[in-house]
């Protein structure tokens, strides 16, 4: 029991150190030796958990995916209408991207490795399936127009959110991701929301944006 806890702590340390280094000097430039030094452990300890830089990257991607999924699912409930949960959930995830290094690092690695690794297919596939499911519910509840295809909407939303993260990362080192999320939804809403609910959701989005706006910069 104690051995498991120690092993888990070591694994965590390796991941944290790797993420720090990937952020500081980038994935290509980071060697396993650098990670071993930063984590202050032996070669053996690292190789016990990860046999390569790639498997470490995969673990980080999976951890990031788990955290993002949990953040999204944690705010969804059966007491809120589906589209409200979808929008609010996306903002909570964007918040996490601002504050959680592992989430940010994992997302970047996913982008870099996506094509060479089936973890991308699994991760994106999972997110899209979840969003599509929610969209179906939102259609049932009358918030999303009935004639639209839930799958198309689910994929569009995930695509837009990933795109938002990509642009924010590239242009402002991720700092304006919340504003970009809000703007993306401003564009999406009229395309998917039913006539009777549109005004409500525009207000809902405005409130959400306001709640997440960054503190004004000090003079």
């Amino acid at each position: 029991m104690v051995r498991q806890a120690r092993s888990e702590a070591t694994r965590k340390k390796i991941i944290t150190s790797a993420v720090e280094l990937f952020n500081e000097i980038g994935y290509p430039a980071t060697g396993l030796g650098d990670i071993i030094d930063r984590a202050e452990m032996t070669k053996g300890a690292l190789y016990y958990h990860f046999d390569s830089k790639e498997s470490l990257a995969t673990a980080i991607i999976e951890e990031a995916g788990t955290r993002l999924a949990e953040a999204f699912l944690s705010i969804s409930s059966s007491s809120a209408p589906a589209l409200e949960s979808m929008i609010h959930g996306v903002f909570v995830v964007a918040d996490l991207m601002l504050t959680d290094q592992i989430a940010r690092s994992g997302t970047q690695l996913l982008r870099a490795f996506g094509e060479f690794n089936d973890v991308a297919e699994r991760t994106y596939g999972g997110w899209t399936a979840e969003m599509t499911k929610r969209t179906r519910q939102a259609i049932d509840e009358g918030d999303v127009r009935a004639e639209l295809d839930p799958q198309a909407i689910g994929e569009t939303i995930i695509g837009a959110m990933l795109g938002v993260e990509l642009l924010a990362s590239a242009i402002t080192a991720g700092t304006d991701v919340l504003e970009r999320v809000a703007r993306a939804w401003q564009v999406l809403l009229p395309g998917i929301v039913s006539q009777e609910s549109l005004a409500y959701f525009e207000e809902f989005l405005a409130r959400e944006s306001m709640r997440h706006s960054p503190a004004p910069l000090a003079e």
Binding site: S79, P81, R211
Partner: protein, 226 residues
Amino acid sequence: MTEQLDRRADTTRQQILRAASRQFARRPYSLVSLDDILADAEVTKGAMYFHFRSKHALAMAIIEHRFVLASASVNELLARKLSGLETLIDIVYLVAIEDIGDEIARAGLNLLESIGRTDGLQADVLGQWVDAFAAIAGKAIKDGDIIADRDAHGIAKLLVSMYLGLRQTSNLAEPDQFLCDLENVWALVLPGFVKPDRIDYLSQFIKRRTAVAQKKATPLAADALG
């Protein structure tokens, strides 16, 4: 060894609380006897008295247990990070849904009415509710949904009173009607403290919560009595 015994004792206690809740949710305090509960719980008299010295003690335990469960739900709602007023509305609807369909919740609130005035129990429990609501109302003022000079504590007291009164003047056994009544009282109180330009949105928020709650709420099973 003691850990195992403790666990067994805990389960028995839970069994008794659940059986007692089944009774108190449906019948007045004065008409429920410990024998009724014993029959339902399938525990011995000895086991019962080991945990609860009297019907009154049992009732107090249910009230307290209900409060603990409710606090956990409230914290979960707070963690969702909606605005203050939206959170308050969600909390009240959650309380309503549980009052409608959950035996412990219904029993807890029924008992608060029946025996709450002794030893200041009601004042204590409701006081904590009002304080919790007042903190969230304070947030709602900062959010700009509630008019700036309104008293958070007064609003909190109003909302708690509103719900407790409604469960008496309306009928929990008719969920759709009860939730409709709840929506109506919200509509009437909102102009008292909500900024005029926010009322429209929040009214719709409330209507939408009513719709979701009406789909979700299931009333207590009519019988289930020994």
